[in-house]
Symmetry: C2
Amino acid sequence: MGSLEDICVSAAVNLLSALAFLLAFCILRLQPFNDRVYFPKWYLKGIRGSPTGSGSVVKKFVNLDLSTYLRFLNWMPAALRMPQPELINHAGLDSAVYIRIYLLGLKIFAPITLLTLMVLVPVNWTGKTLESAKNLSFNDIDKLSISNIPYGSNRFWAHIVMSYVFSCWTCYSLYNEYKNVAEMRLRFMASEHRRPDQFTVLVRNVPPDSDETISEHVEHFFCVNHPDHYLLHQLVYNANDLAKIVAKKKTLQNWHTYYQNKYERNPERKPTTRTGFMGLWGTTVDAIDYYTAEIDKLSGQEATERERVMSDPNALVPAAFVSFKSRWGAAVSAQTQQSSNPTIWLTEWAPEPRDVYWENLAIPYVELAIRRLIVAVALFFLTFFFMIPIAFVQSLANIESIEKVFPFLKPMIGRAAVKSLIQGFLPGLALKIFLILLPTILMTMSKIEGFSSLSSLERRSAAKYYLFILINVFLGSIVAGTALQQLKTFIGQASTEFTKTVGSTIPMKATFFITYIMVDGWSGIAGEILRLTPLITFHLKNAFLVKTEEDREQVMDPGSPAFATSEPRIQLYFMLGHVYAPVTPILLPFILIFFAFAYVVFRHQIINVYNQTYESGAAFWPDVHRRVLTGLVISQLLLMGLLSTRGADKSTFILIAQPVLTIWFHSYCKARFESAFKKHPLQDAMVKDTLEKAVEPNLNLRVYLKDAYLHPIFKGGVLEQPSTIDDEEDSPLIQTKRTNNRASQQPSAEQSGDITPELRPTK
Amino acid sequence: MGSLEDICVSAAVNLLSALAFLLAFCILRLQPFNDRVYFPKWYLKGIRGSPTGSGSVVKKFVNLDLSTYLRFLNWMPAALRMPQPELINHAGLDSAVYIRIYLLGLKIFAPITLLTLMVLVPVNWTGKTLESAKNLSFNDIDKLSISNIPYGSNRFWAHIVMSYVFSCWTCYSLYNEYKNVAEMRLRFMASEHRRPDQFTVLVRNVPPDSDETISEHVEHFFCVNHPDHYLLHQLVYNANDLAKIVAKKKTLQNWHTYYQNKYERNPERKPTTRTGFMGLWGTTVDAIDYYTAEIDKLSGQEATERERVMSDPNALVPAAFVSFKSRWGAAVSAQTQQSSNPTIWLTEWAPEPRDVYWENLAIPYVELAIRRLIVAVALFFLTFFFMIPIAFVQSLANIESIEKVFPFLKPMIGRAAVKSLIQGFLPGLALKIFLILLPTILMTMSKIEGFSSLSSLERRSAAKYYLFILINVFLGSIVAGTALQQLKTFIGQASTEFTKTVGSTIPMKATFFITYIMVDGWSGIAGEILRLTPLITFHLKNAFLVKTEEDREQVMDPGSPAFATSEPRIQLYFMLGHVYAPVTPILLPFILIFFAFAYVVFRHQIINVYNQTYESGAAFWPDVHRRVLTGLVISQLLLMGLLSTRGADKSTFILIAQPVLTIWFHSYCKARFESAFKKHPLQDAMVKDTLEKAVEPNLNLRVYLKDAYLHPIFKGGVLEQPSTIDDEEDSPLIQTKRTNNRASQQPSAEQSGDITPELRPTK
């Protein structure tokens, strides 16, 4: 167990590293040549032009205006200043709601922290059990924790009452937040411009028909069963081969442009290239001619393949996007069952075009069920047997065993400062490294499960990741031991016994988790804002690979909030907060700092950096809500276990109502709010339809929807953002490329008020 | 432990009592004056007239035709002869599917029994453990059970393999049956005549509106949001007071008719009555005049109350039955969410009019959630603390303790035959008596939960009853002890430990359950066919209360299959079968006999006796399927527990896949078939709509639907069968009252082929 000193050293180290990161960020972000790393969002929105376009050469790369350095922390208030509606408009609802998770953390834990500091800390401090028991080793943190209360003392009442207060406050906050987010979602849906997915339904498992093609079959079915509403349908092509050709052609075109530029700048010398691998060997030829010929050849291939995909019935997937004449018709079709056989003609609301995960549209029904079984079993094994390496590293990560294994390190480790450093740093680090490897595996597993949209894939991965963190990071750190031992404890003990074992160990692990919060939380967030990896890769690519301006646009990597990995991690902090609130209250301020810092940083990031790849309308909130409640219930059960080992057995009868009520609260919230995230009320659809009919009576919906759900490859391979989707892209805002507004590092201040309507009249 | 002799005595007793019941039934059913007890279904169908209408006086009451007595068992083949489609037509789908549960039992357990007798019984018999261990007391049943296999023997492989075979066979049978029933339901729905509920949706939680009445509000909402489909709506009145007045009036009318009849038969003497309580004291008045006056007075009251209910806005419930122009419109409306607030404008498919549980239509949303929580907690306490009396009686029900408490009984109990009788009979009986008290309580709890149809109430009650039987009868009988002890074992032990404890006790309880099957199963079924209670009450009522022919119609109590109580009991037999199949195979023939006997008896009952009060279209099948699988999973877990105590520890790793696969199978079946019971495919609705439009282009649906969902009280208080519902009632079949076909005790033979079309042309 680390002492208070260890914690202080560790805190200092982490604070310093976080500050160093922040300082580095503040300097780097002011340099024009990093502009595309720290403000890519504004480039993508078309508001910020290339900074290299004007000014002196030096100014292009280094910011010499010293006054900006003095205000180096002003990104923080800037990040907080943008009002909510504008934030949603600017960054999308998903991102805006995502940062509300951190805000929720603040809302829940700020009052709880205050209460614990005022009530539980004095109660614990004056308990004086540890001081009287002389043979026990303890530290100051333990003296502030529940361990300091004598066995069977009446002081436990304070903890029981507080536990109820915490639960009530958490539920109250969660209820409000769920209500808020549901309202935001509904308002967002209602205020949205016309989008193809509002009219469209994804139909899967179209049954084979010997007489008709898939296209005819779909058309006939919907003409018969939705006669007044069916408009058109779009087939789904299996276009993987075509995608490869298009990608190859695109590379060649880039090279072509590059040599063209080179030739234009230096018309004396015609550029040459070699025909071999990457232009490194082979016969030397005229580069422009060579690439023109190659592109022509590929264009021919592409046309043939395109022809084949379009005409070959085997290239068609038994799924289709069916569009309706009104939102009402689509809402009806998405929510009803079409055929009496529930394995065919499966309809669901179509994800927006850029959210579609095309590879999974063709999986037959039975296969889907089997895939899910296999993934569930695989997840079980992954979760329980991944623990072996973690436990191994953790067992190494204590001073004694290191000294034993490497005796030559003893003199170095022996020093107090180094010892504290290692003890404070290593266990958290070991976990952290393992966790980095995981998300990709989990995402692959989710893809195997066969979900058809990127957003649902992310949500499923997040659920898996949460399970993993719960079992391995949380329980794994508390009940140390090998993986199999833990599994055996888990199965071999009665559930009450298990909560007792875990509960009684909790106070002892407070130090470890405080360290973990600092390493994973604080430094992690600071690292997030520095964006070290994108910074390095951008400059590397910029130096060696970028040939054209277009390429520079491409190597810019704005990233996105990465819901699948970051949300489950936030949940760990929620859980730690709930578990330790009545046990070791001193842990709470650390969590509070994490939430506050993370909120500011992520708000800054979604404004300036991240670019959502899709918009699901905060469809993830029910998951967030459920997981916070899961953490709460676990904390309640563990408190029951802990108290029953401390001579407060009767408390069980008082505390047992807590999880029951919490679970009931969950089911109530689910019934009350979840439908806002899953269903599509007809009333709202009708309101929008009526409005649209009144405003644009002559709208030709058929033209608007015709190619909305074409496989992105048929749109020239621009996978990221098909131009038909984002209304913003069609607005005149795009053309208003403002160059050289490098000084405006507070874009929010410049943009306050809804820009779009302001600029619209200039049409 | 009972020995083989005990079992034989018990079997003999039970067989004899069952035979006595059967014999009594065979004689009683041939007596004309019991005709309305044993063939009420035919009276209600209008096919069989009153047997008292013709012939000599003696013949009216006693059957003198001796030849019919000789063929006294011919009801059995008669019951089996009616083909399935006709059975559905005659008795309704609910009943026809209900008896398929017994058939399913036969299908599952007949091959399993055969296999166990061929494989497991020889394996067990030659195990010879019990014989070699001399200090053990054992009996012949134990020698046939798994107890006879030596510790750690390789013979357990037979049981493991067989367990897999049984599970596969059960799943296969269940899959087929689910498929069958789903198809039957869909065919039934498709072939049904026009019914009001096909066009109607129940709307609950209509939000209050300050400007509009509920009626206007409903109309406006659906006119706006379903403009092309809305037809009309019917409000729901809170008519409890009116119902009381109407009931009172009806009694008076019966008396009036009675005196009228009396006067007509004996015109010399005008009948008189007294004005006091039940006509026993008070001043003597002319009966007919008195009742006429009373009825007039009540009619006035009724009219006033009716007026008040119709005009007072407070008598309106915020719910309505909304009808649509087409089945398609209703299907859409039932399956979609109307408002973005999911607590208002809740739509669900309307139950058929006689299935509506009117009292529960007005419960607000939040109250509903709280009611469910309360009932869930109450159910928990009921389930766990009801065990105290059972355990108490069972602890009395062993010879030693009886001898200890009542030493004077010793000489009597000491005799072998009596001892066997008591040991075989008492434990089962004690349980049985407790179980009789339960269903009413559970139904009340379900009503508190707020379901809006009788069928869903029955399903919920059945679920509660199943839980109760599982915990109390099954586990309670295996892990004997007081209620609190059991609860403690349940919570305080690890789940693996718990299955081991229970599993290892199972073989010892085989004798008890064999007895239970005979007492509860065999004799219970025999008692069912004798209908002793309805027989006695009918004759009592007939003698003392019946005044008019109409009254006689009313005192006839056909009953119904009582799904809420009988289905969970069948499930116990399924579970016993699965648990004991690999352990004590000799129990299986007893279960097989139960299923076969019950199938014949209930088939006879639904043809001749029971009259469904509503038709839910076999909506209960998903529950049946799920519960059989629950029993299967429990049996698999218990076998794992049992084998791990018998030195076959490694088997756990082989057997663990079984429950996982079974649960997966359940989720697959649920996804594959459940929607047929919950959803309403648009394709089918469209087909029926199109057909109807072609056949009856001038149908006035508004008139047809106008009063379909009027509270039954407004239809003159005929609660049982509003005439608008049953198409059969409007067919000419009704008028064809065939009198005096007492001899046709094989109505199925007479009726083979679909009668309705045959008779239709005589219109």
